[in-house]
Amino acid sequence: MNVLVVYCHPVSDSFTAAVLERCLAGLRSGNHQSRVLDLYANGEQQDLAGVDALVFVYPTWWSGQPALLTQWLQQTASTSSFRDVRRIVAITSHGSPKLTNIVEGEAGRHVLHRALRLRAHSRATTRWIALYDIDTCSADKRSRFLERVERAMSRPRL
């Protein structure tokens, strides 16, 4: 697929940066065409023409996307069309456990899988790849998550 990876994290040696690296490794081994938009490095608008999959790599803060990613989503929704996008993948980490996020309403998940999905291709599908409890989880759980990301991104349909 022709993939635009939208990456949002301010720190270059963060866990999210490691997730991006494994995500791109997976896309390469799956022979996908991909380019990265690093929102902290260059926030300019990207032409979405020809992009049929959007992959978002970000940390969940206050139950949603970081402000800079929220800004990109809202600006892009007002200036261009997501109608060609057939696959929306979110790869994210949460400080708190899954149950807490469910009680809090999973705002970020619904922004991508419902609000953005409504603006995408009518047959677009979504996928949620999330690590919970990152502040307290073991190193082993983190490395298993990285493997999961790489495996998922190497598949033909992401």
Partner: protein, 194 residues
């Protein structure tokens, strides 16, 4: 009581500006001490910087004097009011950035000895949200109204057990008549000024 009203609307969004003014007037009429802050006008920075992220779990997570000013207001507030236009089912980036940069450990929540999040806003008695929507009620509900969820559920969880929330929406704002707008402003005043 002390109230903090946060306005997050771009210049020219008269309705949100008026709604914030009406909320402030109603609270003052009840004898509350009101701070009304316009995030766009005061040039509040949207994104958390790398330096702020690295300081986040340290002893001094706040680096920007404007953020420190807002954190002091939050620390003293018993009523929090948010006024913004909803876009793509969520709050404006500047308000999301406000949550991320102001509601840091020690302000919005505290991390206990096991690194678990504990509420930090026990002093907040009431949260009011006021929002305009370009979509109608059905689409807003279908996409889950995520700005509202973040404020009335995620932020609410950082408050005490008895903190109440209220929400004042105006759906399909583009099609709203002058009368509907006036009624909306009335509701803003009535529901905030309790």
């Amino acid at each position: 009581m002390r109230a903090l009203i946060l306005l997050a609307a771009t210049e020219g969004n008269d309705l949100c500006g008026k709604a914030a003014e009406r909320a402030a007037t109603a609270l003052r009429a009840k004898g509350h001490d009101v701070s009304l802050r316009d995030l766009v006008a005061e040039g509040f920075a949207v994104a958390m910087t790398a330096e702020e992220r690295e300081a986040y779990h340290g002893d001094t997570p706040i680096l920007d004097p404007l953020v420190a000013e807002h954190a002091a207001l939050v620390g003293a507030a018993e009523i929090l009011v948010f006024v913004y236009p909803t876009s793509l089912s969520t709050m404006p980036p500047i308000l999301k950035g406000w949550l991320e940069r102001v509601m840091v450990p020690g302000v919005g929540f505290v991390l206990d000895h096991r690194n678990k999040v504990q509420p930090g806003l026990g002093h907040v008695r009431r949260i009011v949200g006021i929002s305009t929507y370009s979509e109608g009620r059905v689409e807003v509900k279908m996409t889950r109204d995520n700005g509202r969820r973040t404020i009335t559920r995620a932020l609410r969880l950082s408050c005490g057990l008895r903190t109440r929330t209220a929400w004042v929406p105006l759906y399909s704002v583009g099609a709203a008549t002058a009368e509907q707008r006036a009624k909306f402003l009335e509701r803003c005043a009535r529901r905030t000024g309790r």
